[in-house]
Amino acid sequence: MSVAQIHPAKPAPASVDARPMTPQARILSFMPRKPAEGSLARLPQLLRQLGESLLPPLITLAVLLAVWEVLCSSPTAPLPPPSRVLTESWQIIADPFYRGQGTDQGMFWQILASLQRVAIGYSLAAIAGIALGVLLGQSQWAMRGLDPIFQVLRTVPPLAWLPLSLAAFQDGAPSAIFVIFITAIWPVIINTAAGVRNIPQDYQNVARVLRLNGFEYFGRIMLPAAAPYIFTGLRIGVGLSWLAIVAAEMLIGGVGIGFFIWDAWNSSLISDIIVALIYVGVVGFFLDRLIALAGRLITRGTATA
């Protein structure tokens, strides 16, 4: 980014307001700054940047693994050291695409099953959350009526909903999805409502002068203006739903990373649990980054006025 700013490719913007003084405006174009030596000369610099960003986490990781190895090295240690995790659980590390009977599946399929549940529950939460958030942001009455209820409900821990949803749905699968839904929806509602309430009066005036109807206002003004807020809510929501899925799956069973962990515990396969935790962490990290990236792509330009 910064490189692009150093070489002003087009001096055109500056010349417009200065149009009557044409000779002066042209001076700006006398700045062709050696564009040829670009990529090759920057290679060492790129390598250094890469090293600067990759080395510290790698060193930290190595140190942590070493400490762990030392702490758990005695044969009586309750938890296995990293080296034993590697040997004991080599089978599930090496073959993530393994397909067996029932819940005996490779890590990839376990994670995929969990991701599917999260995808359904989270999508529903995103749609319903944005819709309710718009309602709360637009209407004083909805705000006064619903906000206190939402503020109470959002403090209920995700798993507290599970027995209730099991009773209501009579089945594990929809119950897990419902738990994801109810966990992820609150930050989406609250942030969307805040975004809609904070739409600048100027944009509303533009919409009124143009006589935009409700749909046009929603699509052309409200959603783009509130998008940064909405994506903040969506990002918090996806993190929460990934937190909830593991706990929910432990209780409902079936294929899924949560039940895999629970099953490993029951079989005293502590190494498998550790491998699963690493998977859960990495997937959660990528989910968060995915939503952040989507937000950046979609809200491009909204932050600057």
Partner: protein, 266 residues
Amino acid sequence: MAQHYLTLELVDKSFQRGGTKTEVLTQVSLGVAKGEFISIIGHSGCGKSTLLNIIAGLTPATSGVVFLEGKTVDAPGPDRAVVFQNHSLLPWLTVYENVALAVGKVFRRTKSRAEQHDWILHNLDLVQMGHARDKRPGEISGGMKQRVGIARALSMEPKVLLLDEPFGALDALTRAHLQDAVMEIHARLGNTMIMITHDVDEAVLLSDRIVMMTNGPAARIGEVLDVPIVRPRNRIELAGDRTYLKCREAVLKFLYERHRFVEAAE
């Protein structure tokens, strides 16, 4: 009064907050001819922006009526396009799309796709912004944003163009260029324009008549000054012009002798 193009009749505006009522405007009456350029000048807080918002329909008057071509104004609409003080371009749309939003809405039924496209480019060219059509507002200067704001307002083919301190946030040089651009557009298209300003030179240079507001609260029209200078006007030639200086003096006297601004007048 009814024969005017735009008529304000005894417009009052007061705001009710808690138990206290604040009078902003009282008994504002004004007739504007078609093609006329009117400036409304006054100290800050005199309710001139409120007056513009009432004409735009963005704020309802407490009492009194605004007529445009004999019809009552009671809601905002593209026939009274507004150029907002801080441009109010939508930052997620490009320059072209910002104007396209207005054109698409106003001419949905009357212009084909291709005609709309040509009309958008025509209006951008009118303010010399055709070259920046694919840029977003964040990527262009304040003066350019305001040009696009003017293009958007002009593209609606308004009966009255309302300008709310359009150049207030710009530096002096940029402001001069934009004033020239507005004068040129006014000469070319003959729009009826009403501009809020607190700049005496700007008012005299651009206007056919200057409406001078007394200080708020309960501001009213103090005087209306005719500016009998022939068009096209040139700021350099006018600098020593007798009529120009006299008009300028009249406005200054009104603002700084008879209605001197007192801070915290309440």
